[in-house]
């Protein structure tokens, strides 16, 4: 099935009109010796067989509808209201492309304009773009933008160790040809204040994540001090934020952010094994001409009626080519639409309630887990929906036990990214985790079932530390 409507009879008429004898007549520019290679692909299947095959493949996974899950670390299981799937499932939205022709793309354009408005509402910033690929690439683009704002003169980036390790990795990938100096990643991820001393006249930007990768909330007053330190040296202050947390906690504009970006998957996007996700990106008005990506603006048509168009495109690759801020072309428009529908459905009170549910449930879990012998919270700092838990055994051992014995997907092993955090698990609790699930996790880790390492003769990590 190749979805081709033309029949053999159609093809014969068309070939004749073109003036070639057969299909081969169309491919004479292709080197003859290389023409028509054999492609060794599995034989084609019918739709029925394809769906059966895909379902079978999917069933080799343990999916989270059948396993309580405490993984977060940048990909979050939040409730997605039914309206989201129905709206983004409208093929008028999903089978269109970038709205280059605004008169027949008002649906996409207006929905992006509304999305931009809602991202500004969440972050407190002046302007937002139509999306980046994900939170990591949005952050990398923030670095490129900050360097560009300094006209390429500032070559240093202060990057907090509290930023998602994979986001930091993407910043390094993106900038490997730019000869930048990136500092700060070796510092204590919970001591953001030490970054201030690293800022100098060569610094393009200072980057923090809030809540940080370990789940802890940064004190807005301390962040304001850091922002002031950056600004006093002429550097930009960049905040990577969890948009759900912004339903409850201070918008980064309040503590001095120049650029706010982050992962928008939590806003109506499924987990989808890591993609497609949504990079949201907002900044102060004065930097809009250095911002990458599509931007939708309001205008009027020739009768004076309101309408929306892609605008300020002189920033973009199709106009500026090698002088563009970024090479981005396709973005994550449909995920931005999902985020807009999600935010509109949740509204002012709903998003706050989601954030509160996450907060209370995560704290309940933290309180109960840290009461178990051998477990303790890494820090007493306030946190949102994730927290770091010191464990009596290696995290992968605990996770294997939880999965095999209890069917629970445990937390993220922080020791993979932070050498000082061996045996420390990042636990995520959202509104999707019921009290029963949390209690089950606590029960599973209780000493009755899961003895501490020292009781089995393995090294006691607490003493070793």
């Amino acid at each position: 099935m190749s979805y081709i409507p033309n029949t053999d009879a159609d093809r014969a008429v068309m070939l004749k009109a073109i003036g070639v004898k057969n299909m081969d007549g169309l491919f004479r520019d292709v080197p003859e010796a290389l023409r028509y290679p054999e492609l060794k692909l599995p034989p084609p299947v019918s739709e029925m067989e394809a769906l059966r095959e895909l379902r079978e493949i999917s069933e080799y996974n343990v999916d989270l509808e059948h396993a309580p899950c405490f993984l977060g670390a940048g990909a979050y299981r939040h409730f997605v209201p039914s309206v989201v799937g129905h709206v983004i499932g409208r093929s008028e939205f999903y089978t269109a492309y970038t709205p280059y022709q605004p008169e027949i793309s008002q649906g996409t354009l207006q929905s992006i304009f509304e999305y931009q408005s809602m991202i500004c509402a969440l972050t407190g910033m002046d302007v937002a773009n139509a999306s980046h690929y994900d939170g990591a690439t949005a952050l990398a683009e923030a670095v490129l933008m900050a360097v560009s704002v300094s006209r390429g003169k500032r070559r240093k980036v202060v990057l907090s160790a509290g930023v998602h390790p994979e986001y930091r990795a993407v910043v390094h990938t993106y900038t490997q040809g730019m000869a930048l100096t990136i500092v700060g990643e070796g510092a204590d991820p919970l001591a953001t204040e030490v970054l201030a001393d690293m800022i100098d006249a060569d610094t393009a930007c200072v980057i923090v994540q809030n809540p940080n990768f370990l789940g802890y909330l940064e004190d807005p007053a301390a962040l304001r001090t850091l922002a002031d330190a950056a600004h006093s040296k002429g550097a930009l202050f960049v905040v990577s934020a969890d948009p759900i947390s912004l339903g409850l906690f201070s918008p980064p504009a309040d503590y001095g952010a120049d650029i706010v970006c982050g992962e928008g998957q939590a806003l109506g996007g499924g987990l989808n094994f890591g993609g497609p996700y949504l990079g949201f990106f907002a900044c102060k008005q004065q930097y809009v001409h250095k911002m990458a990506g599509r931007i939708v603006g309001q205008t009027v048509d020739r009768h004076g009626q309101r309408g929306f168009v892609l605008t300020l495109s002189a920033r973009e690759q199709h106009i500026r080519r090698e002088k563009a801020t970024s090479n981005i072309c396709s973005n994550e428009a449909l995920m931005a639409l999902a985020a807009a529908v999600y935010l509109a459905a949740m509204g002012k009170t709903g998003l706050r309630k989601v954030a509160e549910l996450c907060y209370h449930k995560a704290h309940y879990a933290a309180q109960r887990l840290s009461a178990l012998p051998g477990y303790q919270l890494l820090s007493q700092k306030p946190f949102f929906k994730e927290f770091a838990l010191r464990c009596p055994r290696p995290v992968d051992e605990i996770n294997e036990y939880l999965l095999d014995e209890w069917g629970i997907i445990g937390g993220y092993d922080l020791g993979k990214d932070y050498p000082g955090l061996a045996n420390t698990m990042l636990i995520c609790v959202t509104e999707m985790n019921t009290k029963e699930e949390i209690d089950l996790l606590v029960e599973a880790l209780a000493p009755d079932y899961f003895p501490r390492a020292d009781e089995e003769g393995a090294p006691d990590m607490e003493e070793a530390a």
Binding site: S2, N6, L71, A96, T173, G270, G297, M335
Partner: protein
Amino acid sequence: MREPLIYEISSPGRAGVNLPECDVPATPLPKEYLREDLPLPEVSEVDLVRHYVRLSQLNYAVDTGFYPLGSCTMKYNPKVNEEAAKLPGFVQTHPYQPPDTIQGNLFLMYQLQEFLKEISGFASVSLQPAAGAHGELAGVLMIRAYHESRGDHKRTRMLIPDSAHGTNPASTTMAGYETVKISSDARGNVDLEELRAHCDDTVAGLMLTNPNTLGLFDEHVQEIARLVHECGGLLYGDGANLNAIMGIVKPAALGFDVMHFNLHKTFSTPHGGGGPGAGPVGANEVLAPFLPGPIVVKERVEEEPASDEEWEEEEMYYYHWQMPPSSIGRLKAFYGNFAVCIKAYTYIRMLGAAGLREVSENAVLNANYLLSRLKGVYPLPYNRTCMHEFVLSGRLPDAPDVHTIDIAKRLMDFGFHPPTIYFPLIVPEALMIEPTETESKETLDAFADALIQIAQEAKTNPELLHSAPHLAPVARLDEVLAARQPVLQCLK
């Protein structure tokens, strides 16, 4: 046809969703961390649904009509792809689950890597990049990493034909290289003389789109590859136009060292109103170690087969992640746009090898048929057999006041999406038309008839074109005003 903004239908106290009560004891909130106001709209579910359904109706889309947007491959998006990607066993998986619990996902990604290798002839494929431009950045960074790994630091220039997509020079700059523009010759190929003059030991590589953005297969592609390789450079392939050559020729066989695929174009995962796409990148043996990662590899399982008799018949594999040895690194968090990969996998399974060749043959047939109907009517700067698309000029000899933009807007009145316009830059007043294989002869004829009638109107009633569109949801929009007085959100 004015649809109010979502904020204009907001009313305090409404909500579009209800949430459960908290089932755990509350913990006090840290007061000094809290925000004061959250200016999100407040709408009921029914108003929300009507708002977005009405907005959707203001859109033109592949599912509403013919969308011959050149270089974008706006083919029909089979619905089975969507169903496959919605299977809960895929959707409800977390990227950090232990590999044992996501063998289905890893198998699918491995298979898609293999399919793309077979279609392109490359040695290895990474599914990391999220879009075509993202794949380009990967490719240029790989070329850079390759030269650096050999201690070859002189190479600072990337050669780019003047017909290239804007993303090519933009990606080059991001990777820290200088762009050198190479002209096209009178037949729309890369100008070989100019290329020769630039080939020296400062050249990192050449980025070539083939078929190019004129819709032409470069007649000297192998010679171009030879020249670039001879001076120590590498050949990057912009795979945007792969829809013309599946089963016709393998890009790796033509001499490309690295190339990105656009799954949203060639493999019919939809375009989503601008995304998500996916831009996997393939490389030959030389560049494979530099691919972005991680990529999926498989291992034969040696352990005892399960007691079931049938298991003994099958080879068992375990799939897991691996970072290529000299990888340029991660390009995004996690592993690529997985849901898009599911759709591309489904598409390739439905078509098989013969189906993919049929796709390319019919895409090229449709383009040449449409070209045969229009080439006497609109100027054709390069009169050759085209591939999957072709480029006309909207500069009509008898209608000097009419521009391509007017022709494009008038096409909307006939119920068609306009072609790509004013690109490629080397054709004045360009109309870049890509019909794709999923359109019937009848649709192509209706579109040709419309363009022929518009060419007539351009002579007899140019005002009809200047004031177009007349039947779209809004009349022609003032883009200059939007840029001069930017209104980019509705809260300030």
